[in-house]
């Protein structure tokens, strides 16, 4: 038995997971159109490879990874490209972004798939494959996986951690994936272990998912260790899970790789398996649709499927008051549900007043420090709140504002109902804005200084030239006779 460690704080919000695990993963019928954003990952947007009118096959690359930190985008099914333009995407701002709109032809005709034998291949070849298959972290961060599978020369990865904790309330997509496709996850983990030369693979699953744990244990056999970790939010945060399983604390601003640990979501492992073994790029993901719907459940949704399509399938109910993408703790309110499922969409929660009552009026902070007790980053949220509110951003940084992982535990426990995380986000964005401004100002000042220097130099040169000329003229005047 592995000795488990623990992290500070954490909370136990109502789980709401039972509702969406009653039925197996469902395969929704093809929607009428798919809207596929080109920016579904951390890093640069993919570069579109198709134009309106093109006919594409299922699995065909339609967006090319641009630069190192980027991911490729593929046609989730065969059909015709309707347009390449700006469409609504799931983002809290409600701003539009470049998308490819695809009309499925219903034939599901695949490209020629190129299966590999990953365990007998060079990791760098596999990384190229993952990059071209658009494999990104499916836990929500959507960081391109091939980068994390490249520890760099001289770095040794001891432990590969697979994250099946799924600590946020309502979300069950990883739970269902582990129950139904444990084999794929374990195969993917084996590929990752091979790529990282990791000594051990440890799979952490919160103990509120006994079916997933036993399915995973059966699939893993003796090759990997499946560990039931205590159910406590945010136990599924990468840093928290690494801490629980290995005792290592990864400081803010440092990478776990440097400490010999790398962590991936279980769904990412499954897509690594499919991309390497079968050559299938990431065309779909499992999405929990829950909350105020008649039949909450999980759907294997093609990327680009309109969220409304899934909500209709789950049974739209009266009294809906919007929707959240992600979980209630760290997710965000969708400006509209007429947006597509993207690689980061693990969950859609339809809200209602009964499930999500309006926040009571915030009262003043009484410094009770429950927030500090609950903070998994061991910050002093009450002080950060004070500094953020006062616009004292320097002090907020001194008190490690940027170590905040925005898990929302502090807001959850606050007896004064203060939306603390919003204050931290505000402070962070103000600091970023100030830094940008400072950079711009510095640049402008440098330009100005250079310009002044140039003007000065030109003046000087002009004066020198004039002086030279007049000197020449003088000598010419004075000595014409001598020359003659």
């Amino acid at each position: 038995m592995r000795a488990l460690h623990h992290f500070n704080g954490g909370v136990h919000p109502p789980e709401h997971k039972g509702e969406s695990t009653l039925r197996p993963i469902q395969h929704p019928p093809l929607p009428k159109k798919l809207v596929i954003p080109l920016h579904q990952h951390i890093g640069n947007s993919a570069k579109p490879l198709v134009e309106a009118g093109d006919i594409v096959l299922k699995g065909q690359m339609i967006g090319k990874a641009e630069g190192y930190v980027s991911g490729a985008i593929h046609a989730p099914t065969s059909g015709k490209i309707i347009s390449v333009g700006h469409e609504s995407v799931p983002h809290p701002s409600g701003l539009k972004d470049l998308c490819i709109v695809l009309e499925p032809d219903g034939l599901e005709s695949w490209i020629d798939l190129q299966p590999l034998d990953p365990l007998n291949m060079d990791p760098s070849t596999l990384r190229n494959r993952l990059r071209d298959a658009g494999v990104v972290g499916l836990g929500g961060a959507v960081f391109p996986s091939f980068i994390k599978l490249n520890p760099g020369t001289g770095k040794r990865i001891k432990t590969l951690v697979l994250n099946g904790a799924e600590c946020e309330p309502y979300i069950t997509c990883d739970d269902m994936l582990m129950r139904e496709r444990a084999r794929e996850i374990i195969e993917g983990a084996a590929v990752m272990r091979h790529m990282l030369h990791a000594e051990e693979v440890v799979i952490g699953i919160e103990d509120n998912k006994p079916q997933a744990i036993s399915a995973m244990r059966e699939a893993a056999g003796q090759s990997m260790e499946v560990v039931a970790v205590p159910t406590i939010y945010p136990g599924g945060g990468a840093k928290q899970l690494i801490r629980v399983l290995t005792g290592i604390e990864v400081p803010a601003g440092e990478r776990s790789t440097d400490l010999g640990v790398q962590c991936f979501n279980v769904a990412t492992a499954a897509s690594v398996h499919r991309a390497t073994r079968y050559g299938e790029p990431v065309l779909s993901r499992i999405v929990t649709v829950t909350g105020n719907v008649r039949n909450p459940g999980n759907f294997e949704a093609l990327i680009g499927t309109p969220m409304d399509h899934l909500i209709d399938l789950a049974g739209r109910l009266e009294g809906s008051t919007g929707a959240i993408m992600g979980g209630p703790m760290m997710g965000f309110d969708l400006p509209s549900t007429a947006v597509p499922v993207v690689k980061a969409t693990n969950c859609i929660i339809v809200k209602s007043d009964a499930l999500f009552p309006k926040n009571p009026q915030p009262m003043p902070c009484i410094r009770c420090a429950r927030c500090a007790e609950s903070c998994p980053a061991e910050l002093q949220p009450q002080e950060l709140y004070w500094f953020a509110k006062a616009g004292n951003f320097g002090k907020a940084q001194e008190y490690a504002l940027f170590d905040c992982i925005e898990c929302g535990c502090c807001s959850y426990v606050c007896p004064s109902h203060i939306p603390l995380v919003q204050f931290y986000r505000y402070a962070k964005s103000e600091i970023w804005a100030q830094e940008r401004e400072k950079k711009a100002a510095d640049l402008a000042r440098i330009r100005h200084d250079l310009r002044l220097e140039r003007i000065e130099r030109e003046k000087r040169e002009k004066a020198e030239r004039l002086a030279q000329k007049s000197a020449q003229a003088k000598t010419a005047e004075n000595s014409p006779s001598e020359q003659k």
Binding site: F7, N8, K239, R243, E249, V250, P251, A252, E254, Q361, M363, P364, C365, I366, R367, C368, A369, A372, P376, A377, E378, L379, Q380, Q382, E383, Y399, A400, D403, S416
Partner: protein
């Protein structure tokens, strides 16, 4: 804060049992004053009145102040103290959450400095008082400064056990003789020790409900105990037993109800220990060597001053950056 009020009820009940119902009038008057002034100040500060009144913070200040002053004080003293606590110590400093000093203790400090005579007229425990005033006569004294014909204030008031100890030691009476006076009970003061026990019970309830953390009461009680215990060991003729120090005066109400005010205390665990130990030490020093009957109020206020400093120097290290 409603839970904190609830936790005070056993002590109030014990108080009434041992000293009579006058304390209830004091508490009612302080409460009414606090609520009215809180509402007025909220209106003036353009804050919503209802949610702030219902949070119970004004009521708690009123109760703590009422429980700290003699139970049959004149009405104007109760009103003045409460007004100072609510208007000046709380709202003029920014209201709930922003006041640096414990409002109830500011009210107490103002009263003890301004009205030292009235502030030392404590009711004697019913069991040892020479005579009793009936409830109506008590009201008559509180509101009209009138005593029934033939009765004298000294007949039903007495110095507190702490005060008596100080005066008697000053007269060079031996400790054992002092402690056998009727005002002393088995551990603390007659009656008073049971009120202290009730505060302890209420405090344990708050701990169990996780409304307060153990740091402040533990550090405060431990410090008072250790300091007074050490002196008792060295010089038992002039220093009462540490158990007496715990069971008398405001030690228990301070440990669980006054010093635990989150607004005016530090937020870090280490800071709480430093803060409460400091308050324990100062309480004992002021109580033993100072001119006031007890040292709690000034100890708390002095430590309140140190809170920003304590907080700044006791920041725990964050995740992943431990030394």
């Amino acid at each position: 804060m409603v839970n904190v009020l609830l936790a005070l009820i056993p002590a109030v009940a014990a108080y009434v049992w041992f000293f009579g119902p006058a304390i209830l009038v004091t508490m009612a008057l302080a409460s009414a004053t606090a609520l009215v002034l809180e509402a007025v100040m909220l209106k003036l500060r353009k804050k919503p009145v209802k949610p702030y009144l219902l949070d119970g913070s004004a009521l708690l200040t009123a109760w703590l102040l009422a429980l700290s002053i003699p139970p049959m004080g004149p009405w104007w003293m109760i009103v003045t103290g409460t007004a100072f606590a609510i208007v000046i110590a709380k709202h003029l400093y920014g209201g709930l959450g922003s006041n640096p000093f414990n409002p109830a203790m500011v009210g107490y400090a103002v009263l003890i400095i301004s009205f030292p005579v009235q502030m030392t007229q404590w009711l004697a425990p019913l069991s040892i008082a020479q005579s009793h005033l009936d409830f109506l006569s008590q009201l008559g004294y509180m509101f009209f400064h009138a005593l029934p014909q033939g009765s004298h204030l000294d007949a039903f008031t007495s110095a507190t056990p702490l005060d008596t100890l100080k005066t008697q030691l000053h007269l060079d009476r031996p400790m054992a003789a002092i402690m056998s006076m009727p005002v002393y009970g088995s551990i603390g003061g007659t009656g008073g020790q049971w009120v202290a026990a009730a505060y302890l019970a209420g405090g344990l309830y708050l701990l169990q409900q996780k409304i307060i953390s153990w740091h402040v009461p533990a550090a405060f009680i431990a410090t008072v105990f250790v300091v007074s215990g050490a002196l008792h060991l060295i010089d038992p003729a002039h220093h009462a037993s540490p158990w007496f120090e715990l069971a008398s005066g405001a030690t228990m109400i301070c440990a669980f109800f006054i010093l635990t005010d989150p607004v005016t205390g530090p937020t870090t665990p280490k800071g709480k220990l430093i803060f409460a130990s400091g308050a324990g030490f100062l309480t004992f020093v002021i109580r033993t060597y100072g001119g006031y009957p007890d040292g709690v109020a000034f100890a708390v206020l002095l430590m309140n001053i140190c809170v920003p400093l304590i907080d700044a120097y006791t920041q725990p290290s964050v995740f992943g950056k431990k030394k």
